[in-house]
Amino acid sequence: MSDLPILSIIIFLPLLGVLLLSIINSKSSGGERNLKQTALWVSTLNFVISIVMLINFDQSNVDFQFVENYFWINSGISYHIGIDGISILLIILTTFLMPICILASYESIKHSIKEYLIAFLILETLMIGVFCSLDLVLFYLFFEGGLIPMFLIIGIWGGDRRVYSTFKFFLFTLAGSVFMLLAIIAIYMDTGTTDIVYLLDYDLDHSLQYIFWLAFFASFAVKIPMWPVHTWLPDAHVEAPTAGSVILAGVLLKMAGYGFIRFSLGLFPVASSYFAPLIFTLSIIAIIYASLIALVQKDMKKLIAYSSVAHMGFVTLGIFTFTIQGIEGAMIQMISHGIVSAALFLCVGIVYDRIHTREIDRYGGLVNRMPVYAFVFMIFIMGSIGLPGTSGFIGEFLVLLAVFSVNTYFAVFATTGVVLAATYSLWLYRKVVFGSLVKEDLQDILDLSKREIIILFPLAFLTIFFGFYPQPLIDIIEPATINLISNISNDINLTESITQIESEH
């Protein structure tokens, strides 16, 4: 088992699927079905393999595991991959959501289904690559490469304003990432390598750290997204097809959260602690600002998109507390948000497929004809609100607990987000689900089909399961987090003692 390059298999299996898809003739009878089935089976198989990897993962080991290191460009830039407790769960999240996305697209995608599925499978490869990369250049390649399939998914299969939205998405993200690329080049010039494992132990010059940190920050802040560079997200979500939104909210945003933990904290600890107040301030603004905007939305997807901005605010808050509770809270918040917001977008997609509108006012009283839908939707709304007993609570609670120990101002302001979240979420639910069924076009609306039940029930189950028993997640995250924190605190204490010595002289 250990000889198998399991990580590479997981990364490149979807590409194999692409190959298969490209040889299937979509024009033949049953061709479309074959395409969908193939994509579904490939992604499901990949999920199964990733679970096998999870089983073989050694939780107590804080080093990178399943490491593969091959010569690639030169001695400093290599194909170096491996995972630890911070990345493995995000990989599982990706492989888990992918079959769901494909299944969710079965009926809603009407044209060019082959290209659509190919775009998704390529995207999967790139996303998994991001979480595995142990080389900055490799990371950058995967990180930026992901833009292209997403750009196409929104731009080709999106809604009415898809071109505007997809360009906005592309340019925003690209603009941020240019700085990261420059920083990666500078790091290479400075150290002669882009190997992350090496750099994690390497003490970068502190004045350079600040610049590098800002460069990486530019990229991650756009991607996660933080205020004030968040405006691409609502537009992108609104126009994206359902599965596109699911991946965008479920995985793409997490790449930035992961980036903050792995790179900002790992490579530039001194700068991270220096800039933490900036992150806190922007996160607090994001939480309150986005929640207030969510209150007045008329479009379901926009509302959920703004709530995503607020939820990701908790992630950035948690990461920059440099505490165990904060960072693990941020991780759990990311996973929970990956489940819950993905599910919420799916819920929107389900009714969108039926009557083709996202406008909240066009709905009302769905519970009368769709009780099962109402039931699962309620679970996800509660997860989004962060009700104890759902996964949403664990992350938010841990983050806020950690923030309180750092700064009570921030804790108070961030906690107001919890009140606002209840307001806009329940309002959405009430407008869509409760009330009498009076609208003309809703009279014959059907409850969840079998396919939709298969999509939503696992998500609902996980939302509640991790709410009551998040320990499986914690067991995986904790050793890596402790390791990370001890590395950081060494560096930070070191600087503090150096500045002390300098000031004493």
């Binding site: 925003f172 505490t323 509770q325 104890p388 120990s405 209840a422």
Partner: protein, 647 residues
């Protein structure tokens, strides 16, 4: 046994919840109803057994189930922690819940989604039990928000009613504001004490107060220095204010009456709303170390008692009168806590559960009888039609007003006497307000009774002929509650506040001994006298001289409207919170996001680029003489430059 008490209702929830997806099947409806009622009843029997054991042996039972969250030094488990305080709550919750389950079989007999209703009731019961059996603040918080969820679902049970939907959201959100305080309190507890377990926290708090610990006794919160324990207790109390509908955070409770009446009886009278009192009593070892906060609690509790009673005087909806009465009685419990009479507060919680659930279910029986009418101005003279309900409600009313030897008499007297004897902050205010509240309580209760049951009926002939007594399945729970409302005070006063109290409570609450023999004769009988005055006033105004209330209302127009509109709390909140929040949201969205960020960011830049390239396009015109001209200009500039430089 304790496992069964907690988890049987959960089992009921699962089964009834599944059955709720079966549509229009009388058999599955029956199964759901009988099954949930049976399971909760079994839990109730167990609880009563546990309670009687407590009288003999008040030992603590502590069962750890499994770890919930273990991150770094934070370790929190799911647990069942049972001490005397828990046992009281268990018996109140499960017995009222069982009776309400049974009553609901009759009350909801015409409803189309019975299993869903039973499922929600059982879910509520489970979360409430999780709340009171917690051994740490986080499980408490789970139960706390869990009952909030159940309450939200049950208030909005009739989801076709817009008012019910609005009320359910309001209940959830206002409670969340309270929970905001509670959550911050929990963060502060962990920050200071490094644990969320009750026992660890209380012992560390005591060490801190005694000066034998290295924990900081002040904490910087929001830029101010606070006493550590003061701050924690204050923040926790904000949570209690939300859940127990104390003044400023009370606005959700009257609106919550949109839910079916059994819900009002169970959640908004007997159990959930008392969770705030439970929280403070549970943390009494810590609150005892925070006298400033106790004074604040006294102030809030007493103010709520008088505020809610004053509003109750003029309301016309039968359920709202009782809701304000609940709010007011919770105020009594809180000022009891505030003056350090934790035992008396729990005692009133205990007796109140019986008589208030009785009143609510009685009101439900009335509403059931008069075809869902709730306005008491449109009732009257019902005593001949539904005599049994009338008698049962009289029992509830006399217990509420504190008629001698009924349950309310013992518990309310104990509270007022404690306030009289106490010397802590605002205790005299509480004492005076407490007495004033007795007159009002008695007045509004009897006003309700007289308008509903006595005099000439104001129901038209058609409807009057349809008025009918409720079926046995609804009346039997009422009778059981009536027995409790009559005797639970006399039977248990010795344990809660009397000579056996030390044995009964064990170490579960902070006990203070006040000498009740020092009370002057007049003070001792004052509550009783004032209760009769209230009764007499109501009798005079609503049976004898019926014109008087109208004249009074006209004479004191502004005051009457002020009370009728509940001190305008809703209007004020709407003006200072709800509207500005929406306006701000709209402003941020359209102006900041749309106009500034996008305007100067992506949209602005793309416009700029487009603009520049349009201009650049003009230069490339394709005419040779344009280019020749440009070259000529360029060359002359260069030449001029070099000549000037002097090469």
């Amino acid at each position: 046994m304790y496992h069964a008490i907690v988890f049987l209702p959960l089992l009921g929830f699962f089964i009834a919840g599944l059955l709720s997806f079966v549509k229009n099947n009388p058999a599955s409806d029956k199964v759901a109803q009988i099954l949930t009622a049976t399971l909760v009843s079994v839990a109730a029997l167990y609880s009563i057994y546990a309670f009687t054991i407590n009288i003999v042996d008040a030992k603590v039972v502590h069962i750890k189930l499994f770890d919930w969250i273990a991150v770094g030094s934070l370790v929190v488990s799911w647990a069942i922690y049972v001490d005397p305080v828990t046992r009281i709550m268990l018996v109140v919750i499960t017995s009222v819940s069982a009776l309400v389950h049974i009553y609901s079989i009759g009350y909801m007999s015409h409803d189309s989604s019975k299993p869903r209703f039973m499922a929600y009731l059982s879910l509520f019961t489970f979360t409430m039990l999780a709340l009171v059996t917690a051994d740490n603040f986080l499980q408490l918080f789970f139960g706390w928000e869990g009952v909030g969820l159940a309450s939200y679902l049950l208030i909005g049970f009739w989801y076709k009613k817009p008012t019910a939907n609005a009320a359910s959201i309001k209940a959830f959100v206002v409670n969340r504001i309270g929970d905001f305080g509670l959550a911050l309190g929990i963060f502060a507890i962990f920050y200071l004490f490094g644990s969320l377990d009750y026992q660890v926290v209380f012992s560390k708090a005591e060490a801190l107060a005694a000066g034998t610990s290295n924990i900081s006794d002040t904490i910087n919160f929001f830029g101010y220095q606070f006493g550590s324990i003061n701050l924690i207790c204050f923040l926790l109390f904000i949570g209690a204010m939300g859940k127990s509908a104390q003044i400023f955070l009370h606005t959700w409770l009257p609106d919550a009456m949109e839910g079916p009446t059994p819900v009002s009886a169970l959640i908004h009278a007997a159990t959930m709303v008392t969770a705030g009192v439970f929280l403070v009593v549970r943390c009494s070892p810590m609150y005892d170390l925070a006298p400033d906060v106790l004074s604040f609690i006294t102030l809030i509790g007493a103010s709520t008692a008088i505020f809610a009673a004053s509003v109750g005087l003029v309301q016309n909806d039968i359920k709202r009168v009782i809701a304000y009465s609940t709010c007011s009685q919770l105020g009594y419990m809180f000022f009891a806590v505030g003056v350090g009479a934790y035992g008396a507060a729990m005692f009133h919680l205990f007796t109140h559960a019986f008589f208030k659930a009785l009143l609510f279910l009685g009101a439900g029986s009335v509403i059931h009888a008069v075809n869902d009418e709730q306005d008491i101005r449109k009732m009257g003279g019902l005593s001949t039609y539904i005599p049994l309900t009338h008698i049962l409600m009289i029992i509830g009313t006399i217990s509420l007003m504190g008629f001698p030897f009924t349950a309310g008499y013992y518990s309310k007297d104990a509270i007022i006497e404690s306030a009289y004897l106490a010397s802590s902050g605002f205790s005299s205010y509480a004492f005076i307000v407490g007495l004033l509240g007795v007159v009002m309580t008695s007045f509004y209760s009897w006003r309700l009774m007289f308008l509903t049951f006595n005099g000439k009926s104001r129901i038209d002939e058609d409807n009057l002929s349809k008025v009918h007594e409720s079926p046995a399945i609804m009346l039997v729970p009422l009778i059981v509650l009536a027995i409790g409302a009559l005797f639970s005070g006399y039977l248990f006063k010795n344990y809660f506040i009397g000579s056996s109290s030390e044995l009964f409570w064990g170490h579960s609450i902070a006990l203070h001994h006040a000498d009740h023999h020092d009370i002057p004769f007049l003070i001792y009988y004052a509550p009783m006298l004032l209760g009769f005055i209230g009764f007499f006033l109501a009798w005079y105004m609503y049976l004898k001289n019926k014109q008087l209330p109208h004249d009074l209302a006209k004479l004191n127009g502004p005051l009457y409207n002020f009370l009728l509109n509940k001190w305008y709390f809703d209007e004020i909140y709407n003006f200072i919170f709800v509207k500005p929040a929406r306006a701000t949201g709209l402003f941020l969205w359209k102006q900041i996001d749309g106009y500034i960020i996008d305007g100067f960011g992506p949209d602005g830049i793309s416009k700029l680029v487009l603009n520049l390239s349009l201009r650049a396009k003009k230069i490339q015109s394709g005419y040779i003489y344009h280019y020749a001209f440009a070259i000529l200009i360029g060359v002359s500039i260069f030449i001029t430059y070099f000549i000037y430089k002097g090469i």
